[in-house]
Symmetry: C2
Subunit: 225 residues, 2 copies
């Protein structure tokens, strides 16, 4: 069940993925703080989203990443190379927070997208190592950034949620469930994050090959998931 | 389009995954050779499947893995640890063949299933390295072995197909399309095999958590895929 009293901060909320997720969560009734290294950029992003979509004026605000990190749930939506410096700089603020990694480390060359290995196995586990005491969850890796942010089109996908903190996973499933067309599915512990992160390259490759925006679904689950 | 004139050999065809795939492909009209290290075991498996299911007597036979390897399409369905000795022993027979890896390297402990890294990145790429000249394709990793082999229940899943040989990938998509409830999806090159193999641990973890047999689907693809 979604708990709309939660505030959600999006680190790197001005990028396509963060912007799209922030917009959808604000539309779903959460109070969203869009964070950026450059606070003015966050404010501009929020102003544009408010102009373009019917988002309540109180539902979204913009500010520095530090401010976004003070939310109940903190979504990390920065590019992989920005993860370590950012998380190190705010690790003290993340203690006991639910920290959601939707980071994918991908490369692109003439053969298309491909996953780039992470020493810690996954970006999610990297973040868990950098933010002791945080309740780290992996989720939202396959959200189609363009579709979320740049049009109001429907999505049709499951959000595969990994984490070692069961309650934190349930909260994040609630965020996914609150967005029309998404369903949160609890997959298992953090160590299952890598295949989910790397699957993003598979989804992007399929998108390119079939000229579409594919979503991942799991079939055969009970109706009340 | 499925080409029913193809013969399909299943190396390790007496295990649950190979047995199930062989049964479904024979039921779909292919001529299937179930292979085993122990030829009598292959013959016994075929006899039991014929008894239990309505499989045409000409559609399935059992024999040594070497004989199965002489088929047009050769599915490798042995446990990971058996891959290297088997493929090395028959590499000469696999030249120019379509060789399909559905091998997953998984571990199981008190926290559930998890992927075990492969030095060559994926079992599919390991096989490609061991069988020069073979047209290696990754597919059928997530097929629910129990459901395929032990009851006649429907499946509802996509088969994610990787490979560097486009024609070979199309043939394997045709095999998947011939099985009711399955759809072959061409994902991209061999190097995208790892996330698909490792995703098997995710599917098994979901199965355990939700008490089900989950399938993977991609949404948003064109109808004529």
């Amino acid at each position: 069940m979604a708990d709309r009293s939660l505030t959600v901060g999006v680190l790197g909320g001005t990028g396509p993925q963060g912007r799209g997720l922030g917009l959808r969560l604000a539309s779903a009734g959460y109070r969203v703080v869009v964070g950026s290294r450059v606070p003015q950029r966050a404010a501009d992003t929020v102003a544009r989203l408010r102009d373009r979509y019917d988002v309540d004026v109180d539902a979204m605000s913009g500010g520095p990443n530090r401010e976004a990190a003070d939310s109940d749930v903190v979504i990390v939506a920065v590019p992989f190379d920005g993860v370590q410096p950012l998380i190190e700089s705010i690790a003290d603020r993340l203690r006991r927070k639910i920290v959601v990694s939707c980071v994918n480390r991908l490369g692109f060359d003439e053969h298309g997208p491909h996953p780039i290995p992470v020493d810690e196995r996954s970006a999610t586990e990297l973040i868990a190592g950098l933010a002791p005491g945080a309740r780290v969850v992996g989720a939202f890796h396959h959200v189609p950034a363009g579709r979320l942010a740049d049009d109001a089109g429907a999505v049709d996908m499951d959000v595969l949620v990994t984490g070692d903190d069961a309650d934190a996973c349930d909260v994040v499933c609630g965020l996914a469930d609150a967005i029309p067309g998404m369903r949160g599915v609890r997959v298992g512990p953090l160590r299952l994050s890598r295949p989910i992160e790397e699957l993003t390259a598979v989804v992007l490759s399929v998108n390119k090959r079939y000229g579409t925006t594919a979503g991942v679904r799991l079939t055969g689950l009970p109706d009340d998931v």
